[in-house]
Amino acid sequence: MRADRGQRAAYARLLKKHTPAVPVIRNALMAFLIGGSICAVAQIFMNFFTRHGLTPERAGAMTSVTVVFIGAALTALGLYDEIVRVAGMGGSLPISGFSNSVVSPAMEFRREGWVLGVGARMFGVAGPVVTFGLLASMLVGAVYLLFRIPLPK
């Protein structure tokens, strides 16, 4: 039986009474604290690399590599999902979260083999980031070309 529009609307009102609200304030606070801590750790590495003579560009790249590695290691140890459970976007948004989104399917689908499992399904979660990130870059490049905007140094 499919409920008609009136029944669905009445049901939605009933649900509102009983569905617990998402604890937005607490989630936002934890995202700030834990996400901020991840970024603070990244800054420590950034300072370290700069102090040891890397150019700002190279230091930035090495910092990303380091944070990706930390995310991958914590995923492999089974800890990263526990962090995100509490931190929410504070754990998902930094590049360590991206790392988690690639390493976790690689771990999961190893049982389907290296080619069809790990290889094919590794980007199952992060795929949209890659696809639409590339697409956005192409569009930005097209705009630069069309309007003959000089590239930044």
């Binding site: 569905t19 617990p20 459970r85 931190a87 988690n100 049982r111 979660v125």
Partner: protein
């Protein structure tokens, strides 16, 4: 003795040229000769730390059970549950005429692959988390109708196997809303037979099969909301068909409506003039103070574990005379969800009565 007990327990006296025994009232099927004679459960480690920890036949050591994948581990849960059932009853595989079983995985592979090692003819079933009650109702009909002497009924689910299929890889970081539920890891098996005599734990008195209900819920993180209308529809039909009152039941259980779905269902029933106080398998399987399962448990094993570890043993021990289990199932898939479809649901109700009365 309660007068209300007579409503479905005692068949009317038989005149010389007897009309057939009453087999149906409305949507509800009535049985005269279908009995539970055994129940066994194997739970996962999380369930084994919950309130029912001392009532399971076995608590698995980890989520892999010595297997290479979550899917194989789920098959192993089912194999062990059936082995416990046979051991408990002192029977072999050949003593069962049929195995009715199901799980949540695509193509019900957990039960199909486990059935390779169960030397009993196998009929797989799928109604998501409502499969257990569905299977018990069908098994009771086969026994009561004289087609089978003894049928094994089993369902299983595995948290990681379900997450991997329905949602995300198990190590992926994801924050779930408070209405989300936790797929139970475990398997429950019961034996249903005719002419059970002294061996009966309980009688299966009635089976009310459910209609598929769709109230437009699209959120897979709020299954209780998707399934509550189906449970309300089936429970309302059951009560109307049998003319019973809420007080006629020692316990009315829903399968896995959990903390969001239960009050919603109770409200819907109240609007139809039925005041039922619902217990829920998803709520009773875990301890919310120490186990972060949000709204409660779900999964095909959820009501199987609570039914075999709590409801049936309690009935057998005389805690109450009559109990109802209304298993609830959400009939969506990852494909339908991604295509923006809503989640239809179904709920089936089975009535148990204590075997020895008075």
């Amino acid at each position: 003795m309660h007068d209300a007990d007579a409503a479905i327990a005692a068949p009317p006296p038989m005149p010389a040229t007897a009309p057939p025994m009453e087999r149906r009232r409305g949507r509800t099927i009535l049985f005269q000769d279908a009995w539970i004679t055994g129940a066994a459960s194997v739970a996962g480690p999380t369930e084994g730390r919950g309130p029912l920890r001392d009532r399971f036949d076995e608590v698995a050591e980890d989520h892999l059970l010595g297997q290479k994948s979550w899917e194989s581990a789920e098959s192993e849960l089912l194999r062990r549950a059936f082995a416990h059932l046979c051991e408990q009853m002192g029977l072999g595989h050949g003593d069962f005429d049929l195995l009715l079983a199901g799980d949540l995985l695509n193509q019900t592979v957990a039960t199909a692959f486990a059935a390779r090692d169960v030397d009993v003819p196998f009929c797989g079933l799928y109604n998501a988390c409502a499969t257990f009650a569905e299977a018990m109702g069908l098994a009771a009909a086969l026994c009561d109708g004289g087609y089978c002497r003894r049928v094994a009924v089993a369902t299983s689910s595995h948290h990681d196997a379900a997450e991997r299929q329905y949602r995300f890889p198990t190590e992926f970081g994801n924050q779930r809303p408070p209405s989300a539920q936790w797929t139970a890891t475990g398997a429950g098996a019961v034996a249903i037979e005719a002419a059970a005599g002294q061996r009966a734990w309980a009688r299966i008195a009635a089976f009310t099969p459910g209609r598929v209900m769709d109230y437009g819920i699209q959120d897979p993180f709020n299954m209780g909301a998707a399934m509550a209308p189906a449970a309300a529809d089936t429970l309302a039909a059951h009560v109307a068909d049998l003319g019973l009152h809420p007080g006629d039941y020692g316990a009315v259980y829903t399968g896995d409506l959990a903390r969001v779905g239960v009050p919603v269902c109770e409200d819907m029933l109240r609007a139809r003039g039925t005041d039922l106080c619902l217990r829920d398998c998803g709520v009773e399987l875990y301890d919310p103070r120490h186990q972060d399962v949000h709204a409660g448990g779900s999964g095909a094993a959820c009501c199987a574990l609570v039914c075999t570890a709590r409801i049936l043993p309690d009935l057998r021990a005389g805690a109450y005379h009559r109990a109802l289990l209304c298993s609830t199932g959400a009939l969506h898939s990852t494909t339908t969800y991604q295509q923006g479809e809503s989640i239809p649901a179904v709920a089936h109700a089975v009535t148990f009565e204590a075997a020895n009365r008075g």
